[in-house]
Symmetry: C2
Subunit: 359 residues, 2 copies
């Protein structure tokens, strides 16, 4: 007999099918189980389309009354673009609901559970809840902090360099890593880079499947009008520049948005940059910085997740560019990674993890 954990894992798999496509909504999967057999399943495909529970109800060919519903996230309580799932569950006479985590959205948090219980439904909460929070790491960050989830990537040698003393950075990691890394752009709403990276590497910052928003931090407004990012899909380009360039900004072709921000000793308040992006509808950001850009985001304690692609190479050199520049931390215990994972990608190694910052 399959247990709750087994079915909850299935909801994760279902939910993940829409990875990168549901923003600003969370990933959600639902499973209806009767007499220990799955009778229907569904997942949330895109904001505006049916929630996972509704999708599963629609697909059920037999009656669902008396069955158990498995969901990775607490069913919704509020009237959004689709009706509240909680009412539908009660109406369909589901007898038990197994929920991995409560919805961090303060409008929902715990309320649906209360309503289900009041309707006499047996509710179980907390099965694999950490995994469920990681599955919706973007949504949890959004709801708890009103900020975008910020993932950062770098491609370094084993000794932590992203360019040699001569400035050569092409290529450190192999084909497979670079392909994998491009694929990550599809998972996030926005890809961010510093203007120096744009000037030096002319990156496209597009994913293989989608054109994300592309944000460029450009204090001096140095981005050239013939840049790939301006020539192609300018409606996806977001520029952050200093207030002092207010007048010069007119010379640029039309882009999605130019944000003017204050500088502090020549650098932006990056938390403010993140707030602006969030208010603009960007729920997740993927940083493809340079050393300085990535370092500054760490200095501001804003990085939520890292992808370190590590090539089997040694670059060496006191003056070679480190992957994480900026000011840096005073103690080795200031930033540690939770859930560090290691996998081989071609000849390289990918290390992922979730930075935690000492208070």
């Amino acid at each position: 007999m399959k247990n709750d954990e087994h079915y909850i894992k299935q909801t994760f798999k279902l939910a993940r099918k829409a990875q990168g496509g549901t923003s600003p909504n969370p990933l959600a999967g639902a499973l209806i189980v009767k007499n220990n057999k799955i009778i229907a399943q569904g997942f949330h495909k895109k904001a505006g389309l049916a929630h996972a529970e509704i999708e599963a109800f629609r697909k059920a060919k037999t009656g669902v009354a008396g069955s158990t519903l498995y969901v990775n996230l607490e069913p919704c309580y509020h009237f959004g673009r689709t009706g509240p799932c909680v009412d539908e569950i009660i109406k369909r006479k589901i007898s038990r609901v197994v929920i991995s985590t409560l919805d961090p959205n303060p409008v929902v948090y715990g309320k649906s559970v209360k309503k289900l219980k009041a309707a006499g439904i047996n509710v179980t909460i907390g099965i694999l809840s950490k995994e469920a929070m990681r599955l919706n790491e973007v949504f949890f960050k959004n709801m708890k902090k009103n900020l975008p989830f910020l993932a950062a990537k770098c491609a370094q040698s084993l000794d932590g360099k992203i360019a040699t003393r001569k400035g050569v950075s092409k290529w450190i990691t192999g084909d497979k890593s670079r392909q994998f890394s491009r694929g990550l752009r599809d998972r996030y709403d926005c890809v961010l880079a510093g203007v120096n990276t744009v000037l030096q590497d002319s990156p496209r910052l597009d994913g293989p499947m989608k054109v994300p928003f592309k944000a460029v931090l450009d204090p001096d407004l140095k981005i050239p009008s013939n840049s790939y990012l301006i020539k192609n899909n300018p409606q996806k380009l977001i520029i952050f520049t200093s207030w002092r360039n207010k007048n010069r900004a007119g010379r640029l072709p039309i882009v999605a948005k130019i944000f003017f921000v204050k500088e502090n000793n020549g650098s932006f308040d990056l938390k403010m940059v993140m707030r602006r992006l969030y208010d603009y509808g960007v729920m997740s950001v993927f940083i493809e910085g340079g050393s300085q850009t990535l370092g500054s985001f760490f200095d501001a304690k804003l990085v939520d997740k890292v992808y370190f692609f590590i090539a089997p190479k040694i670059i060496g050199g006191k003056s070679a560019l480190p992957s994480v520049g900026g000011k840096g931390f005073a103690s080795p215990d200031d930033v540690w990674l939770d859930d560090m994972r290691v996998q081989k990608i071609g000849e390289d190694v990918l290390v992922t993890g979730y930075p935690c910052y000492r208070k």
Copy 2:
């Protein structure tokens, strides 16, 4: 029925039992198989004691005539401290010999095989030969280059730093890594550090099981007479200093050896340092950093193997100390790692590999 590969792997296991104890001899294991049954086995324990083949012959309780002998390394041909194994094999009427690799020692290379064949013995060579060369990586380096095998270790954050911008380096990696790292000292003849590491960290540089030679690179002869390394087992301390300190060296208590070497722009000719150690009888060296020391050995293309202990931490900072300092390489393709392996040690990751240098 077990095949040759199976038995050769057993010889590796046997040989490895004496890891770190056979210098300057190679690790060797021998297996005598008759009618697909192992009838005796042996390994070389220590220079001066019996070779693996002889050990196996001694242990055999039944006659070995007509059996197959498995060895990871070509049997010896020369009269050393024990007689030549090749004659013993012929005398014992072994009918087949399976050898993983030829002996790189020019005095032996291929000669024993020739003699065995001339005696009508069936000889197979080359089963898992790459693994056999790695097993005796120290010996192969010694024989081919007349230099010690040089392994280097560092303990860094994920972003390649070994100290914060404030110089704090204790501790980056966890207990288990540090314990594992100390254990590595038992495998090498000599542990080497720069004098700055000695001054800052007062390391003991001892292994858990043995006191290796400890070499300190000390151009200005700054090592204090009350240093742990001078107070304890000074007969194991080797100091490299500049010729200009010839007179000042007299102030030091008696140590194993003081080598006076030429400087070039304030730094030693490290290849010369390695030659001196080799002539002194040091077959393998384990470098325990600092950034500058490790970087210089890389600059000189002398590092044969690396152990990178990587902590799940981010240190960041343009001015923080990188694991591999020195001058560094011009292209990301100048140094790559062969056989990169990754394993978890406690919370950390250990990456090992064999640097290859572009000609």
